[in-house]
């Protein structure tokens, strides 16, 4: 669809580029991590040049993912502070999921569900980064083995959490039509804004 005259900008070019680089790094880090996570998925190492290469590359994919997430996260953090309206919104989350937003308070640039997702993503990303460094050899050589064991377990827990959150994130983007366009072409229609983020829509309109 061509950009209509009344389109509203949601993500600029740099934000879109960083988001999709983040997606690529997440995808490679997740696939290479899953290869080590369960024997049934060890064949995924073939995508990265075999077992040793996957072991070499995985931490760098993870660091790349973290760096892009951190950049984007700092950009959108201001829109993700959770307030009383969000608590109210979450009480109506099941109605929103059923397609009825009438009872939920109007959402800003991000609704409460997205905000919760954002902070959980942040938690998992930080967890993966810290625990990952605890058993990245030879850097981690000499660390107490109990720490390494905790880190290995928590790395798997954070990775599982992250994968579940990203599945949810991707589904929401697919379910809420025209959302993907916001992250590909960068703009949304006023109708999309009014339907999904009414408070943000009104704010943008006031400014114009």
């Amino acid at each position: 669809m061509l950009r209509p005259k009344n389109a509203i900008d949601r993500y600029n070019y740099l934000e879109r580029v960083v988001h999709w680089l983040l997606a690529i790094f997440f995808f490679t880090a997740a696939l290479s991590g899953l290869a080590f996570f369960h024997p049934s998925m060890f064949w995924l190492t073939n995508f990265f040049g075999g077992g040793p290469w996957t072991r070499i590359l995985h931490p760098f994919m993870g660091i790349g993912m973290f760096v892009f997430f951190a950049w984007l996260g700092l950009k959108v953090m201001g829109h993700n502070t959770i307030d009383k309206t969000d608590v109210e919104w979450l009480k109506h989350a099941h109605e929103v999921m059923a397609g009825d937003e009438s009872a939920a308070p109007p959402a800003g640039k991000y609704n409460a569900g997205q905000k919760v997702l954002f902070w959980l993503l942040t938690l998992c990303m930080l967890g993966l980064l810290v625990t990952g460094f605890c058993f990245w050899r030879p850097l981690a050589d000499g660390l107490p083995v109990t720490l390494i064991r905790w880190a290995s377990l928590l790395h798997a827990v954070c990775a599982t959490g992250l994968i579940l959150l990203v599945i949810g994130h991707a589904y929401m983007a697919f379910w809420t039509k025209q959302s993907i366009r916001a992250m590909v072409q960068g703009w949304v229609t006023p109708a999309w804004a009014k339907s999904n983020h009414p408070a943000w829509h009104d704010e943008v309109m006031r400014k114009n």
Partner: protein, 289 residues
């Protein structure tokens, strides 16, 4: 080592199906009698000779332990402890190295299929060609044995001379030990031998003499005769009750299928939700277009 005995595998790392099991072998064991050890290090030399390994020469820091630690080139090591028991100084010398656990923590933690195997005779072997160098075996081992090479990033440890044992020979360290402190045979025979030694040691006043065959790891295929079996920590911190850490068990046990199931369920939930609710279209689209 490469896997010479593919018909004789009992366990294989990162493998969910049963390895070939038509053939069975008696379990073997090395028995190290610490009360007979004179600390000559002939076993270290024999190990280095047979396996063709030459560790770099280190620095003397004023103790007998030489080299200072196990390494990718030193798979066994005499560890010297000076302790006072019953008012007497005792020089306890323990030949350290892989214990070849019946339930190996290294094998449990390893993510690479077939990089660690356990033969039906109980020997735990690293198959370096399948090793990816992640270090999980170090994380899993309750005895701190595997060492990762800084050169090739592969894990190394004592093979219990699986290549010699496969052709009916005893391990090199056993062959060379001048006092007979290291014996090798079926695990049953070694237990009987140990029992005879207990009688002797108890007669000599070591009331707590006993066999170290820790059940926390299902028993080991390297066992020690200890004068003070009630205090294994005296022997250079030999663990009293070694077992696979519950953290490793959770990580490599129930967590794996649960996490995969959660991922599958989440995807399925999305599908079911979409089929029930349908797409979320913006209201009043036609006006704004």
């Amino acid at each position: 080592m490469s896997s010479l005995q593919s018909l004789d595998l009992k366990q294989r790392s990162a493998t969910t199906v049963q390895p070939p099991s038509a053939r069975s072998n008696p379990e073997v064991s090395k028995l190290i009698d610490i009360s007979k050890c004179i600390g000559c290090k002939a076993c270290q030399v024999a190990c280095s000779e047979w396996n063709d390994l030459r560790d770099t020469v280190g620095t003397n820091v004023g103790v007998y332990d030489n080299p200072a630690d196990l390494s990718p080139e030193s798979w066994t090591l005499m560890r010297y402890s000076e302790v006072e028991e019953n008012g007497k100084l005792e020089w306890l010398i323990r030949k350290d190295g892989c214990m070849h656990c019946a339930e190996p923590g290294c094998l449990k933690a390893c993510p690479s299929p077939g990089a660690i195997v356990q033969y039906s005779n109980g020997i735990v072997d690293f198959i370096e060609e399948h090793c990816i160098g992640c270090g999980s075996c170090v994380t899993g081992c309750p005895f701190n044995i595997p060492r990762i090479s800084k050169e090739d990033h592969k894990a190394y440890k004592c093979t219990l001379c699986s290549d010699r044992v496969a052709v009916g020979l005893e391990p090199a360290c056993v062959k060379t030990c001048p006092t007979g402190a290291i014996q090798f045979g079926t695990k049953e025979d070694m237990k009987e031998l140990a029992a005879e030694r207990m009688v002797d040691l108890k007669e000599r006043g070591f009331q707590n003499a006993g066999l170290y065959d820790p059940q926390g790891v299902g028993g080991t295929h390297v066992m020690y005769v200890l004068q003070h079996a009630d205090q294994p920590e005296l022997y250079h911190r030999l663990p009293k009750d070694p077992h696979i850490s519950p953290l490793v068990n959770l990580w490599k046990g129930p967590f794996k299928p649960l996490a995969l199931a959660a991922m599958g369920v989440t995807v399925l939930a999305g599908l079911l939700h979409y089929l029930k609710v349908g797409p979320k279209e913006p209201h009043g689209e036609s006006q704004s277009d």
